[in-house]
């Protein structure tokens, strides 16, 4: 078992080792006892919000992306580090110019209704569904001209320009393959199969009570011999996070995934012997907290002011105290989980130093006034979750120490988005965001001059315009040579951290907390957003 553990706590690391049968049994506390996987059993997990459909091809919302991969498969799956591995495609080749990708498909796969799975399903899904109806698919597969199907087990993607980011978006969560025989010729968004899914995945839908619960049962005809191990999965929709925590604590639930209980409860439960936290498997959705400077503000347009503010704020402090240590202090525009491209080599740093901040502000031409204040700024924290609002209290106090009078403005989510990205009435904005499985998908939008689009939320809100950065981003978009692409993103990180239009605060680590009886919910990069084929429960 050669797994990468990019962000594991000590205990889950040991638990992972213990679970691997490669290690001899050694005396360890009960929590870490190694056991053989067991088939059978039911997994009970509370979640919120409830899904609107049960199909992650037409909805990118959280509940759907959790449920979809249990019932549907993708062409590929990804090991830790986003290394592609086979799922419905057994192998694949890219042409030298990067414009044709041939997927050889798995033989003998059937849909839940018994129909055979063929290349036609793949072509239909990408061309008619993902390209048209998927929130991110419109961009990700924008260059996909056609999917050719020379025979039933071969699908050839024909691209207009090389698209390396697409190769990271072919999993069951992002691009589930739908049955053409059910969807073809129907109104896809209105198809009854959206709430009664027919997939090729490891589980089948057994019961669905809208807004209340979903019951999935094992697909006995799953193509992977001997899997899934679980018999049943019950997902109950519980709106109150304190109740979800209590359900786990009292044994009414076996696991709570995807940070569905507050960080401080996750940390508290992890300290108890009966529960284990796992922060792996969030590479498909690396989230980060960051703070944009509105460069249209003449004070913030001065790069020395931005550097001074960066020196006055300690991202490590926010990571430890606002995120309860479930994160890494931000050092570059990328997320540490974007393993392939993340680098701090040669990237400017702004260590916490109030004296340096004061010096820079003096040099920048903003001396302290009579009341000790240099200038005033408005800070808009995102009301999504509580962390940005909590962190804004820290930012406000730190900036007061260097003579910047910050007013925090808390608003309803809709008003917040309009204030910042439509009216552009902000100076500083502190928010959390998904940086994307590939920098092209989630990160580029904050730095690319063409994504300065007032009216469109979570775009280039800083109004950052740097032709050098634009050139790098556009080159990396179509670069098929992995090393060249890494170099482009390394250079991008260095320039952006020098110009600092956005201050990275925290690379958030998602966390799952489960009873120690639950094993192997996270076995690859997709974590709990995968199919749960390996998950097993002790008796």
């Amino acid at each position: 078992m050669t797994q990468k553990f990019p962000t594991v706590g000590r205990r889950s690391f040991l638990a992972g080792l213990a679970a691997s049968t490669a290690l001899p049994l050694i005396a360890m506390p009960g929590k870490l006892w190694a056991q053989e996987p067991r088939a059978g059993g039911t997994l009970r997990t509370p979640a919120w919000p409830a899904p609107s459909v049960l199909n992650s091809a037409i909805s990118t919302a959280g509940p759907e992306t959790f449920l979809g991969p249990k019932m549907f498969d993708g062409l590929l799956a990804y090991d830790f580090g986003m290394v592609a591995k086979p799922q419905l495609a057994t192998d694949w080749q890219m042409s030298d110019d990067g414009l044709r990708i041939t997927f050889n498909l798995r033989e003998g796969v059937t849909w839940h209704d018994g129909e055979p799975f063929t290349a036609h399903d793949v072509a239909f899904t990408f061309m008619e569904v993902l390209k048209v109806h998927h929130g991110r698919g419109r961009t990700t597969f924008g260059d996909l001209l056609a999917v050719e199907t020379p025979d039933d087990l071969t699908a050839i993607f024909v691209l207009e320009t090389p698209n390396p980011a697409m190769m990271r978006a072919l999993d069951s969560r992002e691009s589930p393959i739908l049955p053409a025989h059910i969807y073809e010729g129907t109104d896809i968004l209105d198809n009854p199969a959206n709430t009664a899914p027919i997939g090729t995945g490891p589980f089948k839908l057994a019961e669905y009570e809208i807004g209340s619960y979903v019951v999935l049962v094992k697909n006995p005809d799953y193509w992977e011999e001997g899997y899934p191990l679980l018999d049943r999965m019950v997902i109950q929709y519980v709106p109150d996070s304190a109740t979800r925590a209590a359900m786990l604590e009292s044994g009414q639930a076996d696991a709570v995934f995807l940070n569905m209980i507050p960080a401080q409860d996750i940390v508290r439960l992890d300290e108890q012997p009966d529960f284990t936290m796992d922060t792996r498997g969030f590479e498909g959705m690396p989230s980060a907290q960051q703070m944009d400077f509105n460069l249209d503000n003449p004070i913030l347009a001065n790069v020395m002011v931005r550097h001074a503010i960066a020196h006055a704020i300690d991202p490590e402090w926010i990571t430890q105290n606002v995120w309860y240590g479930l994160g890494t202090a931000g050092k570059t525009p990328l997320h540490v989980d974007q393993v392939e491209y993340y680098t701090t080599e040669g990237v400017p740093e702004y260590p916490y130093d109030l004296d340096r901040a004061n010096e820079l502000l003096d040099e920048a031409g903003y001396p302290r006034g009579d009341n000790g204040t240099r200038f005033e700024l408005m800070l808009d924290p995102s009301p999504w979750g509580t962390e940005s609002i909590t962190a804004s209290a820290y930012v406000r106090e730190q900036l007061r120490q260097v003579g910047i009078d910050v007013t925090v403005r808390t608003q309803d989510f809709g008003v917040f988005v309009t204030t910042v990205w439509t009216d552009r009435a902000h100076d500083l904005v502190l928010y959390t965001v998904n940086l994307g499985v590939d920098p092209t998908i989630g990160t580029q939008r904050f730095y690319w001059s063409e994504s300065y689009r007032p009216g469109s939320a979570f775009t280039n809100g800083a109004h950052y315009m740097n032709p050098e950065v634009d050139a790098l981003l556009e080159a990396a978009q179509v670069e098929t040579d992995p090393q060249a692409r890494r170099d482009q993103y390394a250079e991008f990180q260095r320039i952006v951290m020098r110009d600092l239009p956005v201050m990275p605060i925290t690379n958030i680590h998602g966390a799952n907390i489960a009873s120690t009886r639950v094993h192997d919910h996270t076995v690859d990069a997709l974590g709990v957003l995968g199919g749960f084929t390996r998950l097993w429960i002790e008796e």
């Binding site: 401080q264 105290n321 509580t386 909590t390 804004s392 209290a393 106090e397 007013t407 403005r409 808390t410």
Partner: protein, 283 residues
């Protein structure tokens, strides 16, 4: 009713619950007045280790909150904001309520109808929900919160004042004022209003208490002004820590309970002191 302010105060001190209430409020006022001297750096300094329990670090006798701010400093500054919000909101709703009630009660007729239907309409809206809606839409700032509280609490005063005005306007002294040609304005504010001050004063102490609670509840729900340290702000930063650090919510909660209790005690005592019938019974 010719009780002078001075003697009311003395009789309030002799009243057991009045005395207790006044003592507590005096303490709270003292806290808010001395906050600036004892903690010149303000309540926001991130001076300690976050989540230090009370009694662990002598520098922070009541511990620190989730961000490492001194709980004592927060409570002292919070007293200032909570009292100010309570008083300001009560004052605004007193002014609106008295004006509406006085005009409706004195003039009667269609004016009365219009104003009272408006009051009824306001009273049918659950006041806390209305406050949430106002703050949610306009945005959380101290002045919005004060106005939101005032807007939902004036109808009570208006009804009270109107009832007294309806009664008093038929009295002979009012009729004689009219006959000697006194202006309506002078009759309302110079003659009738002083005679119905007692119930207004009594209910205003309750009004302050309600306003303090409403502000704290709004802050608890995350609708407080993040730029001022009120007891509600402490509550809302302590709320996520309820399981791991209950003291962060317990201290501001105790402060709130005591202050509101004190205001209610004063209200009760004032009711006894200002009510002429009760006075006769006692003597």
């Amino acid at each position: 009713m010719s009780t002078s302010g001075h003697s009311v105060f003395r009789r309030l001190l002799r009243h057991p619950s009045g005395l207790v209430g006044l003592l507590i409020i005096a303490l709270v006022v003292l806290m808010s007045a001395s906050a600036g001297f004892i903690f010149p750096e303000g309540p926001w300094v991130l001076g300690g280790r976050p989540r230090t329990w009370p009694g662990v670090d002598p520098a922070f006798p009541l511990g620190t909150d989730a961000l490492g701010r001194d709980m004592v400093a927060a409570l002292f500054y919070g007293a200032r904001v909570s009292l100010a919000v309570g008083a300001a909101a009560a004052l605004v709703s007193l002014v609106i309520g008295t004006l509406v009630g006085a005009i409706a009660g004195y003039y009667g007729g269609w004016l009365d109808d219009v104003l009272m239907r408006l009051t009824d309409a306001m009273q049918t809206i659950p006041s806390f929900l209305a406050a949430i809606a106002i703050v949610g839409v306009v945005g959380a700032s101290l002045s919005t919160i004060i106005i939101a509280i005032a807007v939902v609490s004036w109808p009570m005063i208006a009804r009270l004042v109107r009832a007294d005005f309806l009664r008093l306007r038929t009295y002979d002294f009012v009729q004689s004022c009219k006959i000697i040609g006194m202006s309506d304005l002078r009759i309302i504010f110079g003659q009738i209003l002083p005679n119905c001050l007692a119930p207004i004063i009594v209910s205003s102490s309750v009004l302050v208490a309600t306003a303090i609670i409403t502000e704290a509840s709004l802050a608890f729900l995350g609708l407080g002004d993040p730029n001022v340290m009120s007891w509600g702000t402490i509550l809302s930063t302590g709320r996520p820590e309820l399981r791991s650090g209950w003291y962060m919510t317990a201290f501001p909660a105790v402060a709130l309970v005591l202050t509101v209790l004190a205001l209610n005690l004063i209200g009760d005592a004032l009711n006894d002191v200002l009510n002429p019938r009760l006075k006769e019974r006692k003597s």
